[in-house]
Amino acid sequence: MLPLTSSMEFSLPAELAIAAALGIGFGFALERAGFGGARKLTAVFYLYDMAVTKVMFTAVVTTMVGLFALSAMGLLDMAALYVEPTNLVAQGVGGLLFGAGFLIGGYCPGTSMAAIATGRKDALLFALGMFSGVYAYAEFTPQLDDWYKATSIGELTLPSISGVGMGWWTLLFIAVLVVGAWGMARLESRFSGLRPKS
């Protein structure tokens, strides 16, 4: 029964080796997509290149289909998967801050690795900023972690709050992706004038 960690225990070296191996796939996929460059990443906010939303949405739908299929076949115990508790204020305000940092900094934490690996000096500065930010959080506002727990409204997923099963949601997400792909192609041709010449 999957996930593997529910039925077996890995040693620390094995866990870290698994992390590094998955990381190689992660970094490879990000670089393939073109996410090792800030202009490609921020282009989504100027609508002339929607690769960020295409890749993200396709990845989410791929994983969703895979998890649903494995669980429908009885191979995966969905209940054993970790669900981060929801805190609407934290995810709302945190998301706004994160979006601002993403646009201004040009990267997100994962893509900054892909960019550093392909020589982007600005990504190194972004990563230094990230490091300083998490350090400052731990030093000056660690009590926010307690506030998060106290005001969290628990592990919520769309199937759990709606009573509509994951299969239907998966179908809906596929439909949104298909319509979205058409819409994104239209946006790209409409705003192609913003695309940098070089």
Binding site: A29, G34, T62, G66, C108, L125, Y137
Partner: protein, 187 residues
């Protein structure tokens, strides 16, 4: 100068740039690949990907170097301290792997460039300062929201986590809302 690459059809020798980089993958194919990596992570570990926790582990390791006794005064540092081995952190090893994986991909597609990504209307110094500031702001957002593009937007959304979907929407609201004001940085 590599004569092999220069003699291949479709490649132009432009002095310092020997070979033209290969085009990026089709975004939908790259998305499927990324999704399969995330699916594999779920199936093996029971949790998804992350990135910010790796930075947090580094920060705690740094704090431990400066003043080990100080670690327990912050519950955040204490969480990443890992009995004195903060560097043996799962997400930090994931990030190290990501560096390697991206280097392999970039090397294979000839996309390595020692450069600074910016629009034509700002200078290198300004761009580097903004990259640092953006990283700082993104870190604050990710710590508050308990995740970033990896941990919330990708990992959480794929199991339909309500908080993750709220995070995802908020990221794009902020990005589109600010895009006009920082257009000089990118366009």
């Amino acid at each position: 100068m590599n004569t092999l690459t220069a003699s291949r059809p479709g490649l132009v020798d432009r002095g310092n740039v020997t070979a033209v980089s290969r085009p990026f993958s089709n975004p939908y194919l790259a998305g499927i690949l990324l999704g399969l990596v995330l699916l594999a992570t779920y199936v093996v570990t029971g949790r998804g990907l992350g990135a910010t926790a790796g930075f947090a582990a580094l920060a705690t390791a740094f704090a431990g170097l400066v003043s080990p006794s100080h670690i327990q005064s912050s519950i955040v540092h204490a969480k990443y301290w890992n009995d004195g081995a903060p560097l043996l952190n799962w997400t930090l090893f994931l990030l190290l792997g990501a560096l390697i994986g991206a280097a392999i991909s970039g090397w294979q597609a000839r996309r390595f460039r020692l450069t600074i990504e910016r629009g034509p209307r700002i200078g290198d110094g300004q761009r580097l300062a903004l990259a640092f500031a953006g990283g700082f702001i993104a870190a604050c957002g990710a710590k508050l929201a308990k995740g970033c593009t990896s941990g919330q937007a990708l990992t959480g959304s794929s199991i339909l986590n309500v908080g993750s979907l709220v995070f995802l929407v908020a990221v794009f609201v902020a990005g589109f809302g600010l895009a006009y004001f920082v257009r000089k940085e990118w366009l």
